[in-house]
């Protein structure tokens, strides 16, 4: 399923986008702590990483396969609550809880994905939206199980007997997971499945004519993106030690889609950049207080109108044109 280890014929391994890009990302992750002076910055970096994991998965769905999901926060929330409930209420070991919750979300995405992905465009958008909202309402209403709108506490993550605590440790855990996520995504993109997805994006009917089973491919990328979201959700739950239904809210879904589209669709690193910028922005915008919503909305509109490809591909385009 994944691409073979055969090297790219024209570029050496350190220059190809897959390994070169990942190497750069690893470098940034390794060197960033030099600029970090206290736990607050680590916290922001961790949140950036967790959002980036979701966005990398969502980007596969939106950017490469050309679909849309306005309810992905639902998967994040389910991953978070699934892990939290299994670990706290039923006493499962946290890692097992995370794996089980992710498997559950994958199953749900598989079951729901088939009928949903038969839809296109606005209809698909609204169906995913409806799904996301139903998930968030159910989580919020079943307060006997989930603690309701006020949320529930989550026990810490323990890996092989060692408790994962503290911002510094979590930074490396999340950094590692992000690298893994990017590597998986890049492998998928450069495999035959990735090419099939891009064909789908251009024209589903033409792809079908060429022999690609579009329904199966769409379902697969939907499930993969749901898995990324669930893992990120579970990790967030263990890191914060506390979760609320806001994790699964419509607003959060919109934030995620904005990160992907802003950073650059059909660009894994674009998704990471988008997550970074839009997670850090509200921290910077605290200076603006009441104007935050106005600025955020204006930013969304502005980016889509003037930079429809997203920040990274547009900048890369300028670079390419300049280098010529």
């Amino acid at each position: 399923m994944f691409a073979s280890r055969r090297q790219d014929a024209t570029n050496p391994w350190w220059a190809s986008s897959r390994t070169g890009g990942i190497a750069l990302l690893a470098l940034v992750i390794a060197l960033a702590p030099l600029a970090i002076s206290n736990n607050y910055f680590y916290d922001v970096a961790i949140i950036v990483g967790l959002n980036a994991i979701v966005c990398v998965g969502l980007n596969l769905l939106i950017g490469y396969a050309g679909q849309i999901s306005l309810g992905h926060a639902g998967f994040v929330g389910l991953g978070a609550y699934g892990s939290a409930l299994l670990a706290s209420r039923y006493g499962w070991p946290p890692l097992a809880a995370l794996v089980a919750a992710t498997a559950g979300v994958a199953l749900l995405a598989f079951v729901v994905g088939r009928p949903i992905l038969r839809l296109h465009g606005h209809y698909l958008a609204m169906a995913t939206l409806g799904l996301g909202i139903i998930v968030s309402i159910v989580i919020s209403t079943e307060d006997g199980l989930t603690g309701g709108p006020d949320g529930m506490p989550v026990p810490p993550l323990a890996l092989f007997g060692l408790v994962v605590q503290g911002e510094r440790t979590w930074y490396w855990v999340v950094g590692g997971c992000l690298l893994l996520a990017v590597w998986l995504a890049q492998n998928l993109i450069e495999s035959p499945i990735g090419r099939a997805l891009r064909a789908l994006h251009t024209s589903e009917i033409a792809a079908e004519v060429a022999g690609i089973d579009s329904a199966r491919h769409k379902l697969m990328v939907f499930v993969v993106s749901a898995v990324f979201a669930a893992v990120a959700g579970g990790l967030t739950a263990f890191y914060a030690g506390f979760i609320t239904p806001a994790k699964a809210s419509f607003l959060h879904s919109i934030e995620l889609v904005t990160m992907v589209v802003f950073g650059g669709m059909a660009s894994t690193f674009g998704a990471v950049v988008g997550a970074a910028i839009l997670t850090v922005l509200p921290q910077v915008l605290t200076l603006l207080k009441d104007y935050e919503m106005v600025v955020f909305g204006a930013l969304m509109m502005f980016t889509m109108i003037f930079l429809p490809l997203g920040v990274v591909p547009t900048l890369a385009g300028y670079w390419r044109r300049g280098a010529r």
């Binding site: 849309i68 009928p115 839809l119 606005h122 609204m126 409806g130 104007y291 509109m301 109108i305």
Partner: protein, 291 residues
Amino acid sequence: MDSQWTQFLAGGLTAGSVYALVALGYSIIFNASRVINFAQGEFVMIGGMSAVSLVATGVPMPIAVAGAVVIASIVGLLLEKLAVERAPRADVVTLIIITIGASIFLRGLAQLVWDKAIHPLPPFSGDQPIAVLGATIVPQSLWVLGAMVVIVAALSWFFGRTLLGKAMLATSHNRLAAQLVGIDVAKVLFASFGLAAALGAIAGVLIAPITFTSYDVGVMLGLKGFAAAILGGLGSFAGAIVGGLVLGLLESLSAGYVSSAYKDVVAFLIMLVVLFFRPRGILGALQSVRV
């Protein structure tokens, strides 16, 4: 026990009429441009909040209502001119993000222009409940239902008898053909936004005496109005009305007979069911895709 279901019916019809008006706004814009305007709910909010401000300055109610509708229409026209028109070749995802961004922007603006509090609007003709078939309704509900009937009649006249209305209808059937016969499609789009905003504002003003208004009423109403539009058939005006009323009734009946805690889920569940099994809705036309 007997009068219970008539009460559920009355509540459902009132809420349903508001959903119908919001759904009409979606259908009008969708017809002109295949755009789903996620900011439709904000027009409802702007209508209600503007009316509250105008009434607070001492203006008599009818003028306040008219003023609110005008303000919302202007906002709708500005939205089209400054945002939607600048992205003519945008694909579905881009357009969705633009209109979502617009709705967030308008909500943030409303926070600044007005405030974050909840505001009542005086009812048009008093508050005395009226007993009808074992149920009680407030006079404002009659205004809502009546306005909906009037608007439906006015729109049929508009689309059937006026040149602009016929142009909008033609554009919704086949955009290219409409352009070929000389219809200025850009102007049709412009007018659609204004009209949809006006409808939203009317809904907002009508409902504010019953449900109050605040800077974020638009969110849920917009989503449920959209569910109603899908239920009735996106793009069909009769469908918008039918969808809205049916949705309101189903919500009310399920709250009464099944579970009141999950009332909100009903709208979205219905929408999902419709999308899965009959995406064109109750009255929508079959969509064909040209390759």
